[in-house]
Every structure is written in structure tokens, then in C-alpha cells.
């Protein structure tokens, strides 16, 4: 009896200790997570507050910048939509993005299939070469490409971006799609071929539907890359109606030294939130795609 009681108190003490340690680690996780979220999203939260501020509230250094010291106003959002070419920028970004994604898929899907499935001796070196191309930055090429664009008569036209952006999106899409394709079991294609489909038929009818979620992820990724690109857009295009969000907002919402701060911040948040939202939905897909791309098939 006595022995058992001692054991019990010991066990209780241990249990309490573990419990305390567990609670401490839980608290730590939450504190760390909230801190990380605040540091990451802080500038955007502050943008949201700024957007609704009246000028007399905003431009008074004595006012607490983190709260509204005067009634909120929606005027600056109205100005963004009615008084600036913001909607033109959005429209340009969208149609350029859609066309670039279409070109990217049309070229990179077969290329990825070739590299991931139709095992040739040169498949691996080619995949590596394509990965290297992904690392060649716009800052190295923008000068010669702006000559190319000028020669083609596309200077100051948004079409120049449709032509050039696939050079950024194709390599990364091929890499991602290779990852998704390698995850499809080979038997499925072989079965389709036994059933009388040609190799191309098997690819179109059985493989593409299976990697469809991966294709959607690539579409999102390619679109985000196009929407974020800055250097080419800045180097090729100067008239305001042809600009995209990325270059239009920081250059056209500033008149000389006057920054339309509230409208600028509104634009930032309006663009940032939807992109991050969609991206989050596909995060797991991107991770699988990138890691599988590096795995030998």
C-alpha cells in the first residue's frame, strides 16, 4: 500500500511537471506565431489604417499613427478608382497575365512531359539547363531585350510584356510540372496505351486530367510572377495607359513630390490580399511540385 502511494505521488508530480512544460510550449508556439504574423503583415495592417485617414489626421506628426484620430473617410479609395488609372493598370495586368499563362502552359506542359517521362539520354541535362535559365535574372537582360522590343516595334506597348514574360514563367513551370508528372504512376499511361490510345492520346486523356490540380497551381504561380514583375515593365513601357499594376502604382500615383499616400496604400492592400489568399490555397501543391521536380523519375 505504502509503496503504491509513493508511486502515485511521484507520478502526479511528474504528470504536473509535464503538464506545465506542455502548457509552456503551447504558449511559446502561440506567442511565436502571433509575432511572426504581426511582423509579416504589420506594414499591410498599417496600410489599411492609413487608407481611411483624412489628410488632416494623416499629416499631423503628433497624432497616434495606429488609430483613426478623425472620422474615417472612403474618399481616397474613390479617388483611386475614379481619379487615377488604377483600373486600367489592373485590366492590363489581368490580360497580360492570362495570355502569358496560356503561352506558358502550351509550351511548358509538353516540355515537362518530355523531360519527366520520355526518358532520353539528354533529359536530365536539359532539365538542369532549364533550371539555370530560371536563375537568369531580368536585371541582366533588360537592356538587350529593350532593344529587341524596340526593333519589333513593341516599345511602349503592353504586348511587349506578353512576348517577354513567358521567358520567366516557362522555366519555372516546366520544373513544377515535371514534379507533378513524375508523381503519376507509369502504369496508368501504359494501361491507356494497351487500351489503344497512342502515346499522345494517353498523355492528353489520362495524364493531363490526373495532373490537373498541379496545372492549376502552375497557372496561379505563373500569373503571380507576371503580376509582380517590375524591371521589364519599367524598362519597356513609359506611357501611363499601357502600364501594369506593378509599375503603374508606384509611378503614377505620385505627382512630383506629392504622394497620394492613402490611395497608394489602398492599392497595395487591394492587390496584396487576393493574391496571398489564392496563393495560400495552393501552397501545398507548390511545395510538392518543387520537391518532386528535383527527384529522379
Amino acid at each position: 500500500m505504502a509503496v503504491a502511494t509513493i508511486d502515485n505521488t511521484d507520478a502526479d508530480a511528474l504528470r504536473r511537471r509535464y503538464r506545465r512544460r506542455h502548457v509552456a510550449s503551447r504558449v511559446f508556439v502561440y506567442v511565436a506565431a502571433i509575432t511572426a504574423a504581426l511582423i509579416a503583415a504589420g506594414p499591410f495592417l498599417w496600410s489599411v489604417i492609413t487608407t481611411f485617414k483624412l489628410n488632416r489626421d494623416l499629416y499631423n506628426p503628433a497624432n497616434n499613427p495606429f488609430i483613426l484620430n478623425a472620422p474615417p473617410t472612403g474618399d481616397h479609395i474613390k479617388l483611386l478608382f475614379n481619379g487615377t488609372p488604377f483600373l486600367t493598370f489592373v485590366w492590363n495586368t489581368v490580360w497580360v497575365g492570362v495570355l502569358v499563362v496560356a503561352i506558358t502552359l502550351a509550351l511548358s506542359l509538353p516540355a515537362a512531359y518530355s523531360l519527366a517521362r520520355l526518358n532520353r539520354p539528354w533529359s536530365t541535362p536539359m532539365a538542369v539547363a532549364i533550371f539555370f535559365v530560371y536563375l537568369v535574372p531580368p536585371s541582366l537582360l533588360f537592356l538587350s531585350l529593350s532593344r529587341v522590343v524596340a526593333t519589333l516595334g513593341l516599345q511602349d506597348s503592353t504586348w511587349s510584356l506578353v512576348l517577354i514574360y513567358p521567358t520567366i514563367t516557362i522555366p519555372v513551370s516546366v520544373w513544377l510540372l515535371m514534379g507533378f508528372l513524375k508523381a503519376v504512376p507509369k502504369d496508368i499511361e501504359e494501361q491507356a496505351m494497351v487500351d489503344g490510345h497512342s502515346r499522345v492520346g494517353a498523355f492528353v486523356r489520362t495524364v493531363i486530367p490526373l495532373v490537373f490540380p498541379g496545372i492549376v497551381a502552375v497557372v496561379v504561380f505563373a500569373f503571380v510572377i507576371t503580376a509582380s514583375e517590375f524591371i521589364y515593365a519599367l524598362a519597356f513601357i513609359s506611357p501611363s495607359p499601357a502600364k501594369t499594376i506593378s509599375t503603374g502604382v508606384p509611378t503614377e500615383l505620385v505627382r512630383g513630390d506629392v504622394f497620394f499616400w492613402q490611395s497608394l496604400q489602398a492599392a497595395t492592400v487591394l492587390v496584396a490580399v487576393p493574391i496571398a489568399f489564392v496563393f495560400n490555397l495552393f501552397l501545398e501543391k507548390f511545395i510538392t511540385g518543387f520537391t518532386m521536380g528535383a527527384v529522379k523519375g
Binding site: V29, Y30, A33, A36, A37, L38, A40, A41, P43, F44, W46, S47, T50, P61, F66, L107, P110, A111, Y113, S114, R120, P121, S123, V128, I130, F132, V133, L135, V136, P137, S139, L140, L141, F142, S144, L145, R147, A150, I170, V174, S198, R199, A227, S228, F230, I231, L234, A235, S246, P250, F259, T268, V271, A272, I275, A276, N280, I287, T291, K296
Partner: protein, 339 residues
């Protein structure tokens, strides 16, 4: 194309079988492809079934696109750097090393080169350390994870030019909320300001801070991918053996994910190294070129100054370091495969 399997699987690994077929090569892609190619041509398969044809036909359009708009422009950039091309006079005339002599004599070029290296190195170290920390937070289980993940990814998914605009306002010379806080806690006197972007060292620190802020999420995502790939049982075994959090972290997780961490760091380095957006939006290279980097200096010279040839020469200095980083990434990836 798959050879019949029956009847020979049982004796396939015997030395006699290998010797008779010379078959160490059997499983090498080159050998298999060669055999398949011979077979395909021999039986006149339709094009849509011939792998040797399909493999090339499927790849060719992408290769052509990339060669035309990346390969050729790359060599054009090299040629430009030896020419006298300007925006006003785009005709190509050989100028020898004149551009290189001009940029070497230019103090701003050396300033840009040093800045590029400093920004890259400092932000790479910070991105790796913070990325690893963030990845550890994001793999933990807690409520509201979705929201935290959303918030954490914002800096990376937002177009750089736009998020930098937010920072420009955050670091404003008069209305910076950071200054307001510093005034409240008494670090700054009333009416005083830090002028984040107005003093050379602070401006450099600000540029680095924005880079780190936007790249840590990317590094965290890459490291997370690596963490997920570690077999759970190794960590469980260590836990059973009584290894604590730090012991498991530095004894198991870090060594096993080292290649992934290296990849994350190198991606961060490349993205910092080649970026001009942060500098362009935040400081325009100022004050007095103290935050100028190679990419932005090439832009100001080549596009805004119109001296295409000199701009090209400046941008070319990005290449050797990029190549080194790319090779390093690749060897890390290779090491990951052997794990």
C-alpha cells in the same frame, strides 16, 4: 517497349546472365533509349507513338522560345558592353574596352558592387536563420494556423514594388510610425526624426530589412518542404531516447535539412542580388548613391541615362556570381537526392 518479364526474372541477377548479355548497361537510360529507338524505326510506329520523336517535338518549342529571348539577348548584352550603343543611336559600333574603362573609373560602380555584395550577404544570413525559425513555427500545430500562414506569406506574394511602397510610407521622413513610437518612449525628442532613408547607413539597413522581410517567407516555405521530407521515425526514435528539442534540432533536423536550407539561402541570395525594385522604389539609390546596387545602377545608366552600352557592361558583373550560386544550388539538390 517494356521487354517481356516472364521466365528471366529469376536468373537475371546471376553472373552468368550478366556476362552473357553484357547487361550492366541494361538499365541506363542511354542504352534503353537506343534500343527503343532502333525498335521504333524498325517497326515504323506512327509518329504519335514514337518516343524519340515525341521527346524532341514536345521540348522544341520551349527551347526555341528560351533560346530566342534569353540565350540570344544574353549574348547581345555581352556584345553591347563592347559597343557604343545609346538610346539615341542604337547602331552597333565596336568600342573595345572603353565602357569597362569608364565604369572602373566610376566610383559609383564600385559603390554599387560593394553594396550588392553587402546586401546579399547580410540578407542571406538573416533569411536563412529567420526562415528556419519561421518554418519551425509553421509546422507546429495551433489554432488559427490558416490566418497566420496567410499573414506570413503576404510579404512574399505581394508584388515587390507595392509592398515596398508600404515600407516607403512606414519609413517616411516625417510621418514614420516607428519614429512616433520612438518619440513616445523618449528615445527621440519632440519633433525629432530618424530619417531612415536619409542617412547612408540607415538607408542601407532599411533596404536590407525590406529584402529580409519579403524573402523570409519564401525561405520558410522551402525549408518546410525539407522538414516534411524527413522520415518521422528518426525524430520519434530520438524523442524516445530522450533527446530534447534543441538536441533534436541540431542533431537531426538541421543536418538532414542542410541541403534544403542551403537552397533556401541561395534562392534568397539570388533574389536579393539581382533585384533593383526595392532600391528603386525606396531610395532611388540615394542618398548620394549610398544604396545603389549593380542592377539599379545599370538601370539608371542604361535606361534613364540612355547609355545602353555602359549599362550592359555594369549588369554583366551580376553574371559570374549568379553562376556560382546556381552551381551551388544544383550541388545541394544533388545531395538531397542521395539522402
Amino acid at each position: 517497349m517494356t521487354a517481356p518479364q516472364e521466365g528471366r526474372a529469376h536468373n537475371r541477377d546471376t553472373p552468368a546472365y550478366r556476362a552473357s548479355r553484357g547487361a550492366e548497361n541494361r538499365d541506363k537510360p542511354a542504352y534503353r533509349a537506343e534500343v527503343a529507338e532502333v525498335a521504333e524505326v524498325a517497326v515504323k510506329m506512327p509518329l504519335a507513338d514514337r518516343e524519340s520523336f515525341l521527346a524532341k517535338a514536345f521540348l522544341l518549342p520551349s527551347i526555341l522560345y528560351i533560346v530566342a529571348l534569353v540565350g540570344i539577348p544574353f549574348f547581345m548584352a555581352i556584345a553591347f558592353s563592347f559597343s557604343d550603343i545609346t538610346a539615341g543611336d542604337p547602331s552597333f559600333d565596336w568600342a573595345g574596352l572603353r565602357n569597362y574603362r569608364a565604369i572602373f573609373a566610376d566610383e559609383t560602380f564600385w559603390r554599387s558592387l560593394t553594396n550588392t555584395l553587402i546586401f546579399t550577404l547580410v540578407s542571406m544570413v538573416l533569411v536563412v536563420v529567420l526562415g528556419k525559425v519561421l518554418a519551425n513555427i509553421l509546422v507546429a500545430d495551433f489554432r488559427g494556423k490558416w490566418l497566420v500562414r496567410f499573414a506570413v506569406l503576404l510579404p512574399w506574394t505581394t508584388p515587390v514594388a507595392l509592398s515596398t511602397i508600404s515600407w516607403l510610407w512606414l519609413l517616411d521622413s516625417v510621418f514614420s510610425p516607428i519614429d512616433w513610437v520612438l518619440r513616445k518612449i523618449g528615445y527621440l525628442g519632440p519633433g525629432e526624426n530618424v530619417y531612415w532613408l536619409g542617412k547612408p547607413h540607415l538607408a542601407m539597413a532599411s533596404v536590407i530589412a525590406v529584402h529580409v522581410w519579403r524573402l523570409v517567407p519564401l525561405a520558410a516555405v522551402i525549408v518546410m518542404a525539407g522538414l516534411v521530407a524527413i522520415p518521422r521515425d528518426i525524430e520519434d526514435a530520438a524523442r524516445v531516447d530522450g533527446a530534447g528539442f534543441w538536441r533534436r534540432m541540431f542533431g537531426i533536423t538541421v543536418p538532414l535539412t542542410l541541403p534544403v536550407i542551403a537552397v533556401a539561402g541561395l534562392f534568397g541570395a539570388i533574389l536579393t542580388f539581382t533585384d533593383m525594385t526595392v532600391v528603386y522604389v525606396l531610395t532611388r539609390g540615394g542618398p548620394t548613391n549610398s544604396t545603389q546596387v549593380l542592377a539599379s545602377w545599370a538601370f539608371f545608366k542604361g535606361i534613364q541615362g540612355g547609355d545602353v552600352a555602359q549599362g550592359a557592361a555594369i549588369a554583366l558583373f551580376l553574371f559570374p556570381l549568379l553562376l556560382a550560386a546556381a552551381v551551388a544550388i544544383l550541388s545541394s539538390v544533388r545531395r538531397m537526392e542521395t539522402l
